[in-house]
């Protein structure tokens, strides 16, 4: 067994919950954030209420809170993943055209989506698994990917069969071109830069070489200041 294989075998990949918590840590107070459907919706549970982040769900909920207590469910209040949710104090409802106008008009600070593939040029494929996909479901993914100020992706690093979801060019049908800014996987946090993927952090015990071994695009370590745009944005909102 070579050193890279050992490093990969020895490291402990993040669980889904830990991945959501990891994303949540990087969202500053004051941001308006959409989480699409699926795994990213768990991010809501990991932002403490005292850090005021406003979550938007594209079915017309601005100020989405966590899941309700089982004995206190508003049966008219669901999120885009069709789960019961709550509305935070200060929240509001919008109809679908307004809800998507705020997405398409670039008013959201961040959207976090799941994906099948992300390419080193920021392309995202997350709605269909082949050109012959029977009745693919696009939902709001293309609106969110094209419309928000920044798009982060939360996904497993590898497919179930062990293929890299980070790629040179997407082979699945595209959702949007050149829009992904950062990827959170169960192995690493990576920025999408003009020079491809830059690794910000890796899980304990993992090495860049070992990560590169399971990634179908060239990697380098990031050297920029951590989250410069986030810090600036938080100041501007004050």
């Amino acid at each position: 067994m070579n050193a890279d294989v050992k490093a990969l075998a020895a490291c402990k990949p993040l669980t889904r919950v830990e991945m959501a918590a990891r994303v949540a840590r990087d969202i500053p107070e004051g941001w308006y954030v959409n989480l699409g459907i699926g795994a990213p919706l768990q991010v809501v549970d990991h932002v403490p209420a005292e850090r005021e982040v406003i979550f938007h769900s594209e079915n017309g909920v601005l100020g989405m809170g966590p899941a309700p207590e089982p004995d206190n469910i508003n049966r008219w209040l669901i999120n885009a993943g069709k789960q019961y949710v709550t509305l935070r104090t200060g929240g509001s409802y919008l109809h679908h055209a307004d809800s998507f106008a705020l997405i398409r008009g670039g008013h959201l600070d961040l959207c976090v989506l799941g994906a099948f593939q992300v390419a080193e040029n920021g392309d995202i494929a997350n709605w269909a698994t082949s050109d012959n996909d029977n009745a693919p479901a696009v939902g709001g993914a293309m609106d969110l990917a094209a419309g928000t100020k920044r798009l982060w992706v939360l996904m497993e690093h590898l497919t179930k069969s062990g293929e890299s979801r980070l790629v040179g060019r997407c082979t699945y049908p595209l959702t949007a071109l050149g829009v992904v800014k950062r990827v959170y996987t169960n192995l690493a946090v990576l920025d999408v830069t003009a020079d491809g993927f830059a690794v910000r952090e890796m899980v304990n015990g993992l090495t860049l070489d070992a990560l590169q071994d399971v990634t179908d695009a060239p990697l380098r370590m990031a050297n920029e200041t951590l989250f410069p745009d986030a810090a600036q944005h938080a100041v501007m909102r004050r």
Partner: protein, 227 residues
Amino acid sequence: MIDKIVHTMAEAMDGIRDGSVVLIGGFGSIGQPNALIDGLIEQGAKDLTVVTNNSGVGRVGLARLLDTGRVRKIVCSFPRTADPVVFEELWREGRIELEVVPQGTMAERMRAAGAGIPAFFTATAVGTKLAEGKEQREFSGRRYILEEALAGDVALIEAWEADRWGNLTYRSSARNFNPVMATAAKLIIVQAQHIVELGALDPEKIVTPGIYVNRVLHVPYGEPKVT
């Protein structure tokens, strides 16, 4: 005296013709006018084009309408929600046409129809399979595609409260597509949980003003089930 309240389903459904484009409100089962869908099944219009976000669950409501074989085409963003058995069967057998539209584009196409805008440019879907065959143009260095307005002959709407002028309010996220669809068809039919006196609705809280609405049927069905 203006009175848009109708008292029977037959009155509510009167005149819906074969070949109609029918806009149906709701996101999943929330805000979906199930009583009116059942009424449409009873009424019997066929060769329909249905515009709605999902493709129905199980064998009730929208799925039941598809199951009658009277829907020629469905326009939606997410045909695969939980348990879309009827849609899957029809699709497999080639008995239904499908137009998949990004959810925001779908909402905006109806908003445009209601506002007299025949088409608009959007960045959504640029460079994807859903942009194929569409006119493209660049504005300020960014590419956009042309999308056309999407108008209905009929819209089936679920509201929370209604008065006899057809002023409407909605409940929580059951608002969803209902207000925009209520502007985008020639005949707007509403099922409302509560009918209130004219003047009882706070003018500051009316979401759909009665000008858009043709018929209101009282359907106090209680709480929706999430499916």
